[in-house]
């Protein structure tokens, strides 16, 4: 059993106070000059990631794949895509990351494989062979019609005819991604082997892609079925029995009431993404109204103490609008996707900075809210410097362009010829690498990157953000999102102004009478909390975080 714990304090709940960083390996750094990012390149950038305060990297799939879906179409679960390097490169990378106190989780797609996978090829060629029952086959395409189609822009049905086998196969995503048949115990066992293989190499856990869809049952929509939860509990038990301090992060793009099922009683996934909170933060900022955020958090059921939400502003997919009402979706499209090219499926394929019109105050405000909410923040590579997107690239490639390291050729991403790059780097005057890059922002004390680094450092001094209770304040001014987090002796008050204009707010802090709010960035003591409501004024899109301290300790 390989133990990554050598460089860490043993802490089963490490993920609750961690800052995650999502990396598109192909786009991060090219270590062998072939135009495509790889593990050697990523290893070279570990100091950077450590220095900006990241605790855990989340890697998009790096398995062999025909790359028809960014690697989520896996053709071999036990190897590394040759573009990215070798298993040895991967092991060296993991060791170097651990030595720097960085953990690593990787995407794992359990629901389906690429149609190129040898299992599928065997399954279609030999229906009675050893793999004949590894996928979900049917004689007609009418069964399970209650199941929705997820990629509505490209897929007319969840069934596709296979001329080789002469049957339809089931797929919840692209037609080149046949669903594995989890009713076959061999499939379950093999998937556990996949998990063990990577955990034995030192990986700290998985982001489990598309977990709600593992099983299919008549008369259901095929999502969140009891059988799926039972299998995930088996995965968790296996991980807990053999490994220490690993994490399973579920991607279940569902309503909070359904997602909490993925935590079980603390015996299923350690973490799950909270999808619905993110569109409501964008809505809140656009409408200057805290209510959508407060409401979605109110509708979020409590979770086990050992579990944690994963929170994010943007990721490698489109900004998904599945978990909003039709009316809200129309509003968000109207406000954030004025160009129809920006829409994809039920979402908006744009990066954070362009979504917020590159407004620095808005970007800071969104990060402040993200970091203050109960959960662990997940940053998306490039958003820490305010990278832009390229809507002219197909599918989700527009938000997966090369990381912009310097103002030099290819943005410092690769020494290969421009024509060899997997995607062109951004070169426009606002978001291009000459205007937006790591090197320049490190040297500018007031850059977004430097600000975010300070925010991360501050958050890490206060485990309350990851571990504390959350209590919304409901001031009369609806433009103010204010809440209190409490953990052990640490009480933190977070007040955010969603409005474009300066605002005053009176907060009922009577429960904290006698305490002194100390502003956390500058350590400035504010007036003592008295019997009356506490008056604060905030600049446009401004925010304050206060530690509430006893009088003698300020």
């Amino acid at each position: 059993m390989s133990e990554p714990g050598h460089w860490f304090e043993r802490e089963p709940l490490w993920f609750k106070t961690a800052v995650f960083y999502e990396i598109h390996l192909r786009g991060f750094y090219d270590g062998n000059d072939d135009g495509s990012g790889d593990f050697r390149g990523l290893t070279d950038k570990l100091d950077y990631l450590q220095e900006i305060g990241i605790d855990c990297l989340w890697l998009l799939p790096s398995y062999p794949s025909p790359l028809r879906d960014g690697g989520y179409d896996i053709a071999d679960f036990f190897a590394i895509h040759p573009d990215y390097g070798t298993i040895d490169d991967f092991k060296f990378f993991i060791d170097q990351a651990h030595q720097r106190g960085l953990r690593v989780i990787s995407d794992l797609v359990m629901n389906h494989t690429s149609s190129d996978h040898p299992w599928f090829q065997a399954s279609r060629a030999e229906p009675d062979g050893p793999y004949g029952d590894w996928y979900v086959w049917g004689d007609d395409d009418q069964r399970w019609s209650e199941a929705r189609i997820i990629f509505i822009d490209t897929e007319p049905s969840n069934w596709t005819w296979d001329p080789v086998r002469g049957q339809y196969y089931w797929h919840r995503f692209f037609s080149h991604q046949p669903d594995l048949n989890y009713d076959n115990p061999e499939v379950q066992e093999q998937m556990l082997n996949v998990l063990r293989f990577w955990l034995d190499l030192g990986l700290d856990g998985f982001r489990l892609d598309a977990v709600p869809y593992l099983f299919e049952r008549d008369g259901t929509n095929g999502e969140n079925l009891p059988e799926t939860h039972a299998f995930l509990k088996r995965v968790r038990a296996e991980v807990d029995a053999r490994y220490q301090d690993r994490v399973l992060l579920a991607e279940a793009n569902q309503w909070p009431g359904d997602v909490v099922q993925y935590f079980g009683d603390g015996d299923e996934c350690h973490m799950a993404f909270h999808f619905p909170v993110m569109p409501r933060m964008f809505m809140g900022v656009r409408r200057e109204d805290a209510l959508p955020i407060i409401e979605i958090l109110e509708q979020t059921p409590p979770i086990p103490d050992s579990a944690q939400w994963g929170l994010f502003l943007r990721n490698h997919d489109e900004l998904t609008l599945e978990m909003v009402t039709d009316e809200e979706r129309d509003y968000l499209y109207e406000e954030y996707a004025k160009d129809p090219r920006m829409k994809l499926n039920l979402g908006i394929r744009r990066r954070l900075a362009p979504l917020l019109d590159n407004g620095r105050a808005e970007i800071e405000l969104m990060h402040a809210m993200l970091f203050s909410l109960p959960g662990s923040p997940v940053l998306y590579y490039g958003d820490e410097i305010g990278m832009g997107d390229n809507v002219f690239l197909g599918d989700r490639d527009g938000v997966r362009t090369p990381m912009q390291w310097t103002g030099d050729r290819n943005g410092g991403f690769s020494r290969a010829d421009f024509a060899q790059l997997y995607l062109p780097p951004l070169m426009d005057p606002v978001y291009g690498y000459q205007a937006v890059n790591v090197e320049a922002q490190l040297r500018q004390p007031n850059s977004l990157l430097r600000w975010l680094r300070r925010l991360i450092a501050l958050r890490k001094q206060h485990p309350v953000f990851g571990l504390g209770t959350y209590e919304a304040l409901r001031p009369d001014n609806p433009r103010i999102f204010a809440h209190v987090r409490t953990y052990e002796d640490d009480i933190v008050l977070c007040v955010h102004n969603l409005a474009r204009s300066a605002q005053a707010v009176e907060l009922d802090l009577s429960r904290y009478e006698g305490l002194i709010p100390v502003e956390m960035f500058g350590q400035t003591p504010f007036p003592r909390i008295g019997e009356l409501t506490y008056l604060l004024t905030l600049g446009p899109r401004g925010f304050f975080w206060f530690q509430l301290k006893k009088e003698g300790s300020v």
Partner: protein, 437 residues
């Protein structure tokens, strides 16, 4: 010990690192009985929790509830165990002792034992003036860089160190960590810092005459540390495109935060109060440098107090790195000029300290001469691939000197308020200097 007593005991120790923070809890997270018979010796890993919920872990050695290290003779047992290479169970892990062949057996009998009273962050005990045991107090997961570097330098025959004789380490549920190291003790050596101050007036030439050699030893140490391209932990690396930016950002943030935290009403910091922006402006000027050489493992906390003048040569001590920095940071490869700057700052420290501690200002040009002698020796011996040349070297040295003085300022504010005026003077002097390119 009750929790209250444990908190009181730990927080009162000189080696307790976080004196300015509020401790709320203390608990023993693992323990191992190292010796049952009287006098007994128990190892405890003590977790100290702060009001914000963060924590630090410390090593205690106790004898029936009392601090065993208060009587250094009780610690002989640790040396015996290192020599025999035993493994002992703890409640949640194991304690492993390891000897270095041929050196651990030095001074067989262990008769006399005395504590070193100048230790700040650890506890060191000398046995028969032949071996010295350093007990690490604040524990962090991972191998201690001192063990790593001493082993590397010992294996490569670098002579200007006190050879590694053994170590002991813990691995278990809370963490894997180095607990202590045993080294050959170098008797009769003259501490470099004391030597500088003692000789400041009476024997200036004798001290100056040794500094070229100190530069040579430093240069050779760096050449050896950067000589192993196949060992990933030591292989010299070309700095990445953002490494100078990271350096700038890190120092700049440290300047900002230390200036933010300057205590009101402290007259000693008055000369720099409100001048943080000026300091940051200097940093921006100096970091406009192209070539920065290579990044390598290095000493990490290099100053006169880490050297001994002995038998007409210098010995380099204490490879732990700066105690206030986290272990992954202390293990990071950086330019070897960081060590050089540390020593240059130390000359400045000595020059100022002479006035403060001994009531006598240094002779005219003392510091400039010391710098010159040391740098001459360094430039002659260091592998030139490792360091930039010409004005790039001067600027990078200035950057690291600034980093060091900001670190000193924070350290003195937290630990030795009477000494705050030394880094303050250093910063003022840097600000008053002409910027030359």
């Amino acid at each position: 010990m009750s929790e209250r007593e444990l908190i009181e005991f730990v927080t009162a120790q000189r080696w307790f690192a976080s004196k300015l923070r509020d401790v709320t809890h203390a608990s023993v997270v693992d323990r191992a009985m190292l010796r049952d018979a009287d006098p007994s010796l128990e190892l405890q890993l003590v977790e100290i929790r702060f009001d914000t919920g963060t924590h630090e872990t410390y090593q205690l050695l106790t004898n029936g509830g009392l601090d065993a290290l208060s009587d250094p003779r009780q610690v002989r047992e640790l040396v015996h165990m290192i020599r025999s290479g035993v493994k002992l169970p703890a409640d949640e892990g194991i304690v492993e002792f390891g000897p270095v062949e041929g050196i651990a057996a030095v001074g067989q009998e262990l008769r006399e034992a005395r504590a070193i009273d100048t230790e700040q962050s650890n506890t060191s005990i000398v046995f028969d003036e032949e071996l010295i045991l350093k007990v690490f107090r604040r524990l962090e997961p991972g191998i201690n860089p001192e063990l790593e570097l001493l082993r590397f330098l010992t294996e490569r025959g670098f002579e200007n160190i006190a050879q590694l004789a053994g170590w002991y380490a813990y691995s278990g549920r809370p963490m894997d960590t180095t607990l202590g190291i045993l080294q050959r003790f170098i008797p009769g050596g003259e501490d470099g810092w004391e030597f500088a101050l003692d000789a400041m007036h009476s024997d200036t030439e004798r001290f100056m005459g040794t500094l070229r050699r100190l530069g040579e030893v430093t240069g050779r140490m760096h050449s050896v540390l950067g000589s192993e391209p196949d060992d990933p932990n030591f292989a010299p690396e070309a700095p990445s495109s953002e490494s100078l930016g990271l350096l700038t950002a890190t120092i700049d943030d440290e300047i900002e935060s230390v200036f933010l935290e300057l205590p009101d009403g402290n007259d000693d910091v008055a000369p720099i109060r409100g001048r943080g922006e000026e300091v940051r402006e200097r940093l921006r000027l100096w970091t406009q440098v192209g070539d920065i050489g290579r990044v390598i493992r290095h000493h990490g906390d290099f100053h006169l107090g880490q050297t001994l003048w002995c038998d007409d040569d210098w010995v380099i001590l204490d490879f732990e790195g700066e105690p206030a920095r986290a272990l992954p940071e202390r293990r990071r490869k950086r330019s070897p000029l960081r060590d050089v700057a540390g020593m240059l700052r130390s000359f400045a420290y000595a020059a100022t300290a002479s006035g403060i501690l001994r009531g006598s200002e240094p002779p005219d040009g003392w510091e400039a001469r010391a710098r010159h002698e040391f740098l001459e020796g360094y430039r002659e011996t260091v592998d030139h691939v490792l360091v930039p040349s010409g004005s790039a070297m001067d600027k990078l040295l200035a950057v690291f000197e600034l980093e060091k003085s900001v670190y000193e300022l924070r350290y003195e504010l937290n630990n030795r308020p009477d000494w705050v005026k030394i880094p303050v003077a250093g910063i003022v002097r840097m600000l008053d200097e002409e910027v030359v390119f």
